[in-house]
């Protein structure tokens, strides 16, 4: 439930339904009870009125979370690579359950191996991870995993809980309603982000994002085994390396992810899509460009 709906009686969905249902009765000239058509329309109106408040809260949380993560690793200054990742990422996101979010993808200036999903449609990937992949299908798989986190609202729920957003005061409710940025909310989410993104989500959330991510890549026309290939690369890397520290501290072991995902992909007959596009040439061309202009 949205913050706004909790404290503001007028915006409370149930209150609004009752109020408008009453209006519908009064407005029915025959006086024969409730006009079901009018009530149905009213319910539709309520649904539309409530949903933007949730989205608005998610947008504000996402903005604060994105700002915090980009404070730790800035986007690289290489417009060609940034646009490339945005095109591939949006194409995959369009196959998800939330195609209409304002999706923003960014490559961040770190040679560590990692990627991050942020509420509201932000996805960040390190330059280090990009340079360890071999094809656009692998990129689509990695982005599909992050997009799935956003679609499943896993970070959103964790941040809402950790930042105790349901206890925000009236002043913040007002700011949210006025579509202003709330400093109070920003600060709370910043603190919650520092904790969540250095500890990671629940293991089951990561497995769920793998499971959905491969399907999004396949729907987009890519070979869905790209994500498995990325996980095999991670598995082969020295776990004591500094570039793996954050990823391994926040995710289940790559071997465990591969084992579960391969069973699930087999059960879901994903081998049917194994012949789909790898996009190797286009990807390698972009990586040549990235190495020539790393954008630090």
């Amino acid at each position: 439930m949205s913050v706004r709906a909790k404290l503001n009686v007028v915006a409370h969905p149930l209150a609004l339904v009752l109020l408008l249902a009453l209006t519908a009765c009064v407005a029915n000239p025959a006086g024969g009870g409730i006009d079901m058509g009018a009530l149905f329309n009213t319910l539709k109106t309520v649904k539309q009125a409530v949903r933007p408040a949730d989205l608005q809260e998610e947008e504000q949380i996402g903005y604060a979370t994105a700002a915090t993560l980009l404070g730790a690793a800035r986007p690289i200054n290489n417009p060609a690579i940034q646009r490339y990742v945005n095109r591939v990422g949006l194409w995959v996101a369009l196959q998800s359950g939330r195609p209409d979010l304002p999706w923003h993808f960014a490559v961040v200036n770190s040679n560590s191996i990692d990627a991050f999903a942020v509420p509201g449609g932000y996805v960040f990937i390190t330059r280090g991870l990009l340079l360890h992949m071999r094809s656009e299908a692998e990129l689509a798989g990695a982005l599909g995993h992050e997009i799935s986190h956003v679609v499943l609202k896993q970070q959103l729920k964790a941040l809402q809980h950790a930042a105790q957003l349901d206890l925000l005061g009236q002043a913040v409710q007002y700011e949210l309603q006025q579509q202003n940025r709330s400093t109070e909310l920003f600060n709370r989410v910043t603190n919650a982000t520092r904790v969540l993104y250095s500890r990671g989500l629940d293991k089951q959330d990561e497995f769920a994002a793998d499971r959905m991510g491969v399907v999004l890549a396949a729907r987009a026309g890519y070979d869905p085994y790209g994500l498995v290939a990325v996980l095999q690369t991670l598995e082969s890397m020295d776990p004591k390396s500094g570039s793996m520290q954050l990823l391994l501290a926040t995710h289940p072991a790559p071997a465990a992810r591969i084992a579960l995902l391969s069973v699930e992909m087999h059960a879901g007959h994903m081998n049917r899509y194994g012949h789909q596009a790898e996009g190797r040439r286009r990807y390698l061309q972009m990586m040549k460009q990235l190495v020539q202009s790393p954008g630090t």
Binding site: P75, G242, L260, S262
Partner: protein, 173 residues
Amino acid sequence: MRRWGLILLILLVTLGVHAASQSSAQTIMDTPLNNAPYSDAGTIVTLPASTSITILSRQGGWYHVRLDSGQDGWLRMTSIRLNSSSTSGSTWGLGWVFQLFESGRSGATGTTATTGVRGLNTGNIANAKPDAQAVNRLRAWTATPEEARAFAQQLGLKAQPIPYLPEMRGNQP
């Protein structure tokens, strides 16, 4: 000095990317070497665990591999483990490019410096100072759905409905 390093790097990348498609790996179980990338294809030989192989390419869930004897065939993707890129200098991925990049930047002499300056660790996240302007600047690179569709078409990608996978929570290791 640094400029020559960069020129050398670009040269190596340009020459090397096409050759960068092989990597060493090992089988992690007894596994059939098939003559095609299908489970019902013919078996050439059954390889014991820990057999060294060279990966030539991947097709879906299968690797095209070559044995030390020169025999080639297809192995199920999950029956192997890639050798550590840090010890074997793997060229299957672009990790070697990244390592050159790192050592070039830090002035090291060939030894890798992956724990270098732009690493990202739990401490960086735990102490991050928010940068709201960086978020605002992301808009410059955002794609429109039309751009994304056109870009997908260049690669011949077609969207299609595929159901989500069943959850196998119980089988989890």
